[in-house]
Symmetry: D2
Subunit: 312 residues, 4 copies
Amino acid sequence: MSLAPHLRSVVEEIAYEMRQRSDRGTVARYIPELARVDPQGFGLVVIDADGTIAAAGDSETPFSIQSVSKVFTLTLALGMVGDALWKRVGREPSGSPFNSIVQLEREQGVPRNPFINAGAIAVTDVILSGHQPREALGEILRFMQALANDPTIAIDEAVAASEKRTGFRNVALANYMKSFGVVENPVDYTLGVYFHHCAISMSCRQLATAGRFLAHSGRNPATGLSVIPPERARRINAVMLTCGHYDGSGEFAYRVGLPGKSGVGGGILAIAPGRASIAVWSPGLDESGNSHLGRIALESLTKRMGWSIFGA
Amino acid sequence: MSLAPHLRSVVEEIAYEMRQRSDRGTVARYIPELARVDPQGFGLVVIDADGTIAAAGDSETPFSIQSVSKVFTLTLALGMVGDALWKRVGREPSGSPFNSIVQLEREQGVPRNPFINAGAIAVTDVILSGHQPREALGEILRFMQALANDPTIAIDEAVAASEKRTGFRNVALANYMKSFGVVENPVDYTLGVYFHHCAISMSCRQLATAGRFLAHSGRNPATGLSVIPPERARRINAVMLTCGHYDGSGEFAYRVGLPGKSGVGGGILAIAPGRASIAVWSPGLDESGNSHLGRIALESLTKRMGWSIFGA
Amino acid sequence: MSLAPHLRSVVEEIAYEMRQRSDRGTVARYIPELARVDPQGFGLVVIDADGTIAAAGDSETPFSIQSVSKVFTLTLALGMVGDALWKRVGREPSGSPFNSIVQLEREQGVPRNPFINAGAIAVTDVILSGHQPREALGEILRFMQALANDPTIAIDEAVAASEKRTGFRNVALANYMKSFGVVENPVDYTLGVYFHHCAISMSCRQLATAGRFLAHSGRNPATGLSVIPPERARRINAVMLTCGHYDGSGEFAYRVGLPGKSGVGGGILAIAPGRASIAVWSPGLDESGNSHLGRIALESLTKRMGWSIFGA
Amino acid sequence: MSLAPHLRSVVEEIAYEMRQRSDRGTVARYIPELARVDPQGFGLVVIDADGTIAAAGDSETPFSIQSVSKVFTLTLALGMVGDALWKRVGREPSGSPFNSIVQLEREQGVPRNPFINAGAIAVTDVILSGHQPREALGEILRFMQALANDPTIAIDEAVAASEKRTGFRNVALANYMKSFGVVENPVDYTLGVYFHHCAISMSCRQLATAGRFLAHSGRNPATGLSVIPPERARRINAVMLTCGHYDGSGEFAYRVGLPGKSGVGGGILAIAPGRASIAVWSPGLDESGNSHLGRIALESLTKRMGWSIFGA
């Protein structure tokens, strides 16, 4: 018997409940373009193993995926250099905010994991290696389009330009790593690609589609094609669980119980291994910089569906 | 069809492979009693949902469970004060070694999670509250005996005394928290209970038995009795996954893919939710202070059994 | 022509001005006995090279010298072990509050200087070495009495006991250093001596008298006897200047321009090399834990007398 | 009776002794242009209150003054904005290496003092304010030329360009402060001026001449003109003493006993208030990044001349 009707009603109920709530967190202000987003937005899309799509709210509205892109650049970089990537970046939770520079000094420029800003910049530097920024960025974008099966996915140049104008702390992080040789390309090149891949715009539907390979052993159920080996999919999920929500990763694991990756644009991609790929979006953030309603919606979803990886 | 024969042969193969390996890590030296343990020891016990026990190696040899006890004191303390516990201790990974004091200064004496030493001392202080050390310790011990269904489980007084004589850093941590009011009882009382519950001796068989409630929604399948509600079991598993192996928690999640808690005595309790409770022991430790062969054995086990919580 | 009349009128004017001020800082609360002191107290004593004593305000009122004692224990310890002392403690400013434990972790238990709490505990441990606490304490007390030429100087046992009951952070620091082997004696012994020498009670007159050897190349002008070689006096003065006021040392040098050492009892000993020994007391503290009016009075004194070591 | 003959023979003896020594420290390698300097160079110039010049060794050889320039930019910035400067930078010792970024995170982008790199960049930003980089740099250079009474003093463009190409950590520091608003001008402008004023080339004779106002209450004895008020000269000397040698400031105060400022080019400017302005140069550095022989020569000089500010 199909779970589809149950899943659809759960998704709709959650979207309804979220619309009623007045606590919406705070929209990220550090990039002007993000600060202009309507805090009332909420979208939720779940795609199960059979390809059933349960969607509710603003499921087709594109938003800036920001750090959610780091899941895909990590996937790409592992495909390029394999485990050699782990010489350039660790895979331990950081115990610090997303843009902390303290840890870099303690550990000689090697970021603790690929999901804090420093780590994601190092991963971007690996993807860039030996290419022009334009080529590297094209590769990332085509990868996203292929996974989402949608060639219209694009970069919001205004967001990228805004981040470039105001992202002083990321410039600091990149130059700091450069001083240790952890960033190898010219800093401007690496940051150019980084700012642009963070500025990719996607809807919940596109994002949930793009994440399906992580829920299904590295294989895209829609095409039947293997994107990455099963072991790599498990491992990316593991890094998402321990590091995907900055200094709120423990909290997310505790409450939601799924691997996930958030972005300051308010999006979260969450993976229920073997079961579903989930994208949620609501632009208001909590103190750790993760979508406030997004996290609450996911907590409700895993509870009602019994999808926590930590037990029924 | 029962998985039991397959599981048994997998467990035996792993134990055989571990016996062949010459890389055994380093036995903890900081307590003289632990330093005397034979580095060749290796035990592995898996108990599945049906109660099938697959055991290999030194599965009946008692060892000092040390920090593995923190899973059980966390369970007890949550039973006593519920979510109020989280005012005294956080649940985020620490990004630091197990005995770091730096984070305590930054966060006003509140430890980041219940599994680093400072956090476990704070949890012990909660259990102690309003009781004599002897009573609190008795309660912890009886809880362990009940879970393991074995009234012979006991504390190794020589280990406890040794730790008391040499555990200056733990004394420092406890007094530091006391200076912030996070430890409420007399420091000697709290540390007395802490050193003693870390000195509980158990075999892999006893430990795997005691951990079953975490694999089965808080219910002990042997007795059918509920130890804790299902949601609490999931949450304890989540904290184990993100924080259970100190600054090697990310690595353990990445390689093993199960919630687990290690101790410097060389034991690890790992939980495959819905499937099995697993105890492994090998006294040689890796750089992060976790059992070297224990981790490798668990990695092999989850791979062969397909038990990773991060996907097939 | 004697400067004495000018000095006396300057000292009286300053005491008068200080009495008028309503900003008095905050009396230290962390020890109950210190918290009971009247915040209106103010004393100032200057003894110049000729032995002229200019005194004003509560110059005969005994107060708890607290960390000012660290100047004298440093002098004693250097007399006992010479430059070997610097293997146990550094002589760099700390850049942290007086009771910070962070630096100890970074530098393997070796405190940055002898005037932060950790460093002073390490110095006390050196003095204690091979003796009973009672003997070591007797030696410190007799040294103070001899320097002040006053055998009535005594320890306030109530303050010592109070500090012992509440000094959890110092217990933490000492045990932390013990874990690195930097504290060699039993922690209780070392801390017992430390808490007691901090609890010595002295008046401004006694303290200024005791400090004269530091102003005069290590020689006590009253007796003509050499206490320490000239070079050592210079060096102790240098450590006072760079480290004598915790994380307000730069500020004190900038404003006052004299080597000095403060205590949370509100006392400050300041040295005008070749010119005068100065003791000031006012129990209200500023944010860095240094006497608020004491510092202002000293700033006024050096300005009017032209005594800054940094130029006329 | 003039001290001149004695001073001259002391200076010559010290230069002779330094030439004999084989321990020369390590020439800074982080800028290629600095790494090429001959490690055998040694120059020493002392100018006393009467204008007597005692010079020995390579006293006319220009070297890159690097961080010694920070004394002069601090003087200029205080002249421009007065005590308002201290809102942008502190005046406490840092307790960290010269290029540490950790402290900036803890203190919201405000550097601890004007002599660590971050602080000097903030000071440069104040000087730059509202001007073109070329103008600001011209002002700094003319100030140096006027103080040294030598219009030939110039910037070594090769050093400036080299630093610009390789100074990633300074780029990181500046961008990090920019992210907190502590740097107000475009980062490239501020760093351009900073890299260039660090690349000023001067000989010991020129540097000692330029520093005379600090030894004589803010007045240049050669011209009789007041450069800054006496109080400001005292205060700059105080900051030099507590912060002038990075994490070796305590050591320098302890051994030399004079306010001083070092640069990685191997130069040190030291001030004996009321007595002399001193410049020493030897390119080999110690672990803290200060001239190895320079410090030893100054220690010998103050000892023989009895010039320590901490007593005869």
